[in-house]
């Protein structure tokens, strides 16, 4: 089983408006055959709208979508032949697992023997052999999810669209299914567009991330790029830079900026052109608790400590009252006065 490969799917200023609200503001994106692309953002960022536009379930209000140069945005969903996995799975409740999986093939008038063979193969692929004659209502959430995936990929679609497929599962199952999806992608090489609001899921699965906000693309890049080098404070916040410390810029060159926070001088990486006021973004795990005052070191008082096993999650407060989130292996207690050092390259300064 393998998808029919295409070279390039191109979204050209794709726009979708609902009345006066524009859910997707001119999205440009090129997806290469075989890629796993994640659309990432909070609810209302336009990621599901983009997916529905790709599937053909929502007509565009502007722009165009082309597949290897052929325009497809005027085709109805049934003519596009893309597989889609829905958030609520959308399994047909009146059909057995086998008939659900074979639905697309029977719509295509696939000969009986071939249909049975391909359904067998898909059932095996998602490990549902024992459950293939059951109805969706008799399956657990994870099994329903597998049916939904098998139903979408049995047609060997050129593109698989997944709309937050793991959001209805509990935490342990979510991790398991995540690995399953990655495994399927690696073994079948299906081009996949995956929508999620969970940055961990996106980082774990995707070859390329598209971060969206209010209908606009913020950043496109590999997981490493987006994780380590977010382009603006919004993407940084979404990528786990929980500390956004308000600072005053005292000096800047092409690469670095020197800023003042709580009376202390910090040197960080300059990510944008800066004015006088800026924010320094730091991940909780990039702080180190140190004994003596030195360069790039903030002084704070511990307020709340949560035990997380090997690490502790600490909330501390700076002298000027702003709050810091810290993850550390040092054992701290509320009331401790601590010094927190952060390396220059782990401080990102945004306008």
């Amino acid at each position: 089983m393998a998808g029919q490969r295409f070279a390039e799917l191109h979204l050209d200023r794709v726009q979708r408006a609902f009345g006066d609200t524009v859910a997707l503001k001119g999205m440009d994106l090129t997806i290469k055959g075989g890629e796993f692309v994640a659309l990432l953002g909070p609810s209302g960022c336009g990621k599901s709208t983009a997916l529905n536009c790709l599937a053909g379930l929502l007509p565009l209000t502007g722009g165009r979508i082309t597949l290897d140069g052929k325009r497809i945005d005027d085709l109805p969903p049934e003519k596009r032949g893309f597989g889609m996995v829905f958030q609520n799975y959308a399994l047909f409740p009146h059909m057995s697992v086998r008939r659900n999986i074979g639905f697309g093939l029977s719509m295509r008038k696939t000969p009986k023997q071939e249909l049975a063979r391909r359904v067998d193969e898909a059932v095996r692929l998602v490990q549902l052999e024992e459950h293939q004659h059951k109805f969706p209502a008799q399956l657990s959430g994870g099994q329903q999810q597998r049916v939904a995936i098998a139903r979408a990929i049995v047609l060997e679609p050129p593109l698989v669209l997944m709309d937050e497929p793991l959001s209805n599962l509990d935490a342990a199952l979510r991790l398991e299914m995540r690995t399953e999806i990655r495994r399927l992608h690696q073994s079948l090489g299906l081009t996949t567009v995956y929508v999620t609001h969970d940055q961990e899921e996106a980082l774990a699965l995707a070859d390329r991330l598209v971060v969206l906000r209010l209908g606009e693309v913020q950043q496109v890049g590999s997981p490493e790029e987006v994780y380590a080098h977010p382009v603006n404070r919004y993407v940084a916040g979404f990528m786990g830079y929980r500390n956004m410390i308000p600072v005053t810029v005292t000096a800047q060159d092409d690469e670095h900026a020197t800023v003042r926070a709580d009376g202390v001088e910090l040197v960080g990486v300059k990510r944008e052109e800066l004015g006088a006021q800026a924010v320094a973004a730091v991940r909780p795990e990039d702080f180190t608790v140190v004994a003596e005052v030195g360069a790039n070191t903030l002084e704070a008082v511990v307020e709340i400590v949560e035990y997380h096993g090997r690490e502790q999650a600490v909330e501390a407060r700076l002298g000027d009252g702003s709050q810091l989130h810290v993850r550390t292996t040092s054992r701290l207690a509320p009331g401790d006065a601590i010094r927190l050092r952060v390396p220059v390259e782990r401080v990102l300064v945004f306008a």
Partner: protein, 296 residues
């Protein structure tokens, strides 16, 4: 001390079994059902076995089936009730299909479709007489289009059928709409992404999930149509082709003063309805009747 604890635990045990003061809310309903349905029904049933002229307890039923004028009413009533119910259910499907979801003017259109309920049978019959009568608008246009004589659409079978459709359609439509709205729209979207055309989606997804609801809608529409009385008199031919069972029961009981035979006819009416409903509901058990909310 002990007694207080025991009394509390009895109350608690009863509440666990659903016995508490909220149960009193059922009393008015139960009283009404017993007084206005169970008692009159059983009274009528035993009355039907006490023929006016004496003889076998089944004499009334024998009389009914040996008198062609009476026996024929079963067929006459079925001939009105079945097509009317079938038409109303079938006609409500495409309209409800179009009316689900949100769109401009939905409320106005729904109101328009449901208004006939509020009119009542008598007003509808009056309207039909005026519109379809020999000098009504319909026949004026019919003649103007070149017909030789006015079409006879009142005081016969057709008049009553039209009346049953006009008054019965809103019920069928409202029921079908609510059943249809209960089907998760993403099921159809999923079918579309799997290559099903509009027609295939309707045939393979919407219809199978809607069918059990349509069976219930058909039963209720049929019961409504089968007990037709006022329009069979006003726009029908109550002595001839629209001599329905309810008219026969009424005439026997109140004109001929034979309450026992009248009761027997009423009992047979109930029996015919139960048979039709039974057949439809047995067919319904062969269908998928589970959730239609999409999560399976």
């Amino acid at each position: 001390m002990t007694t207080v604890v025991e009394r509390a635990s009895l109350k608690h045990r009863l509440a666990e079994k659903g016995v508490d003061r909220v149960l009193w809310l059922l009393v008015p309903g139960a009283v009404f059902v017993v007084l206005l349905f169970v008692y009159p029904f059983l009274y009528g049933l035993q009355l039907s076995f006490q023929p006016k002229g004496g003889g076998s307890p089944f004499q009334n039923y024998v009389t009914f089936f040996s008198d062609d004028y009476l026996a024929e009413t079963v067929w006459i009533t079925l001939r009105l009730g079945l097509p009317a119910a079938l038409f109303n259910v079938l006609a409500s499907i495409p309209i409800a299909f179009r009316m689900r979801g949100r769109f401009r003017g939905k409320r106005a259109l729904t109101t328009l479709l449901v208004v006939p309920i509020t009119l009542g049978t008598v007003l509808t019959a009056e309207g039909l007489l005026a519109f379809f009568g020999p000098t009504g608008w319909f026949n004026r246009i019919w003649i103007a289009l070149g017909a030789d004589e006015p079409a006879k659409l009142t005081h016969n079978y057709w008049g009553v059928l039209f009346s049953l459709i006009i008054t019965g359609f809103p019920f069928a439509f409202l029921l079908t709409l609510s059943y249809l709205s209960g089907i998760d729209p993403t099921l159809e979207q999923a079918a579309a992404t799997l290559g099903a055309s509009k027609r295939q989606r309707f045939r393979t997804i919407t219809m199978p999930l809607l069918a059990p609801g349509l069976a219930v809608t058909f039963c209720l529409s049929f019961v409504l149509a089968f007990s037709v009385f006022p329009s069979a008199v006003m726009v029908g031919n109550p002595a001839g082709e629209t001599h329905v069972m309810s008219i026969a029961a009424y005439e026997t009981a109140l004109r001929d003063n034979d309450f026992a035979l009248g009761s027997a006819i009423a009992m047979l009416m109930a029996l015919v309805m139960l048979v039709v409903i039974g057949v439809v509901l047995i067919w319904r058990t062969t269908l998928y009747r589970g959730a239609t909310g999409g999560k399976g």
